[in-house]
């Protein structure tokens, strides 16, 4: 099964390199969910995530002739995605002074715009608040720290892999991740003293959004 997939992937890549758009569209099916999920966590808005992923795929299509098969297609694609994310951050910083979504927008609008499983009947208010709080906390991180955090915990990349992808030292990645986790912890008000999980994850009084 895996071999068939690889064969079909290499065939699709060869056809797409020859300019076959249909083949490339078929290739996108394999990775579009993974790319979109990461973009959604990075942008925290469904519309921005869709724009960003379309840009990633278009860049990949244009650069596909440079793909030599040294690494896997997804590793190559992820590198394009990281550059697109960073450029999106720079562009967004110029276009919008503050792209951080408000918690109320995220809880009521963005989550509805990107429908989630949390909309099921089993969805609780606690889950919605947790999602909103985590997304808001992620939004307060600097873009590079947010990207490093997502690459580490969503993509499962190591410090060295992230450092290579971002063109920095592994120590820089480690520091950024340490700071990101510390900020998230502070923002989510996870206390060390309390052993009660519900208490630790509940919004604390210090949160101005609650």
């Amino acid at each position: 099964m895996a071999t068939e997939f690889l064969n079909s992937e290499s065939e699709l890549i060869a056809c797409a390199q020859a300019g076959d758009c249909e083949a490339f569209c078929a290739l996108t099916r394999h990775y579009e969910r993974r790319i979109y999920s990461l973009a959604l966590h990075y942008c925290r808005a469904a519309r921005d995530a869709e724009d960003l992923t379309q840009e990633v795929w278009l860049r990949a299509f244009r650069a596909l002739a440079d793909f030599r098969g040294d690494a896997s297609f997804y590793t190559w694609l992820r590198q394009i995605m990281i550059h697109a994310f960073l450029n999106h951050r720079r562009g967004a910083a110029v276009r919008h002074a503050d792209t951080t979504l408000q918690l109320s927008q995220l809880a009521e609008g963005a989550l509805d715009e990107a429908p989630t499983h949390a909309r099921d009947a089993e969805t609780t208010l606690h889950d919605r608040l947790l999602v909103a709080q985590v997304m808001d906390a992620l939004g307060e991180l600097p873009a590079q720290q947010r990207l490093i955090f997502l690459l580490k915990h969503d993509e499962g990349m190591t410090y060295e892999e992230i450092a290579r992808a971002l063109g920095c030292a592994p120590g820089t990645v480690k520091k950024a991740l340490f700071r990101a986790v510390a900020k998230l912890r502070m923002r989510l008000c996870v206390e060390t003293e309390s052993s009660d999980e519900a208490t630790r994850l509940a919004p604390c009084a210090a949160s101005k959004n609650f």
Partner: protein, 234 residues
């Protein structure tokens, strides 16, 4: 000896699974033995667990993807990419052509940290400025041309206030030449005596009427000037 600060500094690496096996076992053991470190570890782990849990909840449902893929395909087809005439994809067992290597060598680029690039650029500017700087003007005085003169060469010491080349054209009458031949010892006299003699002759000539008949300039006599100033005057 347990050090809480050292252990807690490694807790992020522990929850991110970035510690080597032996170090992981040691930090886990220390965390289990120390209440403060254990509470810190649990807080970090809980933070990451909450983030991962929230992220997994933010996932589009299945009915989102067909529309998304249709929009993506439409976007890609709206921006067609020209097919590559020369593909650089390697096929197993096939060697890349030399043209490919040349193209790669000519278009190669390296990622350089910005401070290093700035220092290299600055060095290039400085070196270029040094290389393009005009050379200092070296005044080389050409040796005076040796003039073959039929007239006897005399050494005359002339006091010079500043360094100057003095060239004088001396017109000598035949009578003076004959007189100078009769008194060869005068030419060997010192410069001061010569100067005095010349002055006396000038006075004599100014007193006697000049006879310009048959006067012909004797060739140009090059005087060798001994540089000096009043302190060196003899």
């Amino acid at each position: 000896m347990h050090d809480c600060r050292r252990t807690q500094a490694q807790l992020t690496d522990l929850v991110c699974d970035e510690l080597p096996q032996a170090e992981r076992v040691r930090v886990r053991a220390e965390t289990a033995a120390c209440g403060a470190c254990h509470a810190e570890y649990r807080a970090l782990a809980e933070t990451l667990r909450a983030c991962v849990r929230a992220e997994t909840m933010v996932q589009p449902p299945e009915d989102f993807w067909p529309g998304y893929h249709a929009r993506l395909s439409q976007h890609l087809q709206a921006h067609p990419v020209a097919p590559q005439t020369t593909t650089r994809t390697f096929v197993a067992g096939q060697r890349p052509t030399s043209l490919w290597w040349w193209r790669r060598a000519l278009t190669a680029s390296w990622r350089v940290p910005a401070p290093v690039a700035a220092v290299v650029a600055l060095l290039l500017v400085v070196l270029s400025a040094l290389a393009l700087r005009p050379a200092p003007a070296n005044i080389v005085l050409a040796a005076p041309p040796q003039v073959e003169s039929a007239a006897p060469e005399r050494i005359v010491t002339v006091p010079v206030v500043q360094e100057k080349l003095v060239t004088r054209t001396i017109y000598v009458t035949r009578r003076d030449q004959a007189q100078s031949r009769r008194t060869p010892q005068v030419s060997r006299a010192s410069g001061a005596q010569l100067a005095g003699t010349a002055q006396e002759q000038t006075v004599e000539r100014s007193a006697a009427p000049l006879m310009l008949t048959g006067f012909q300039p004797a060739g140009e006599v090059k005087l060798r000037v001994i540089k000096g100033n009043f302190t060196h005057e003899q």
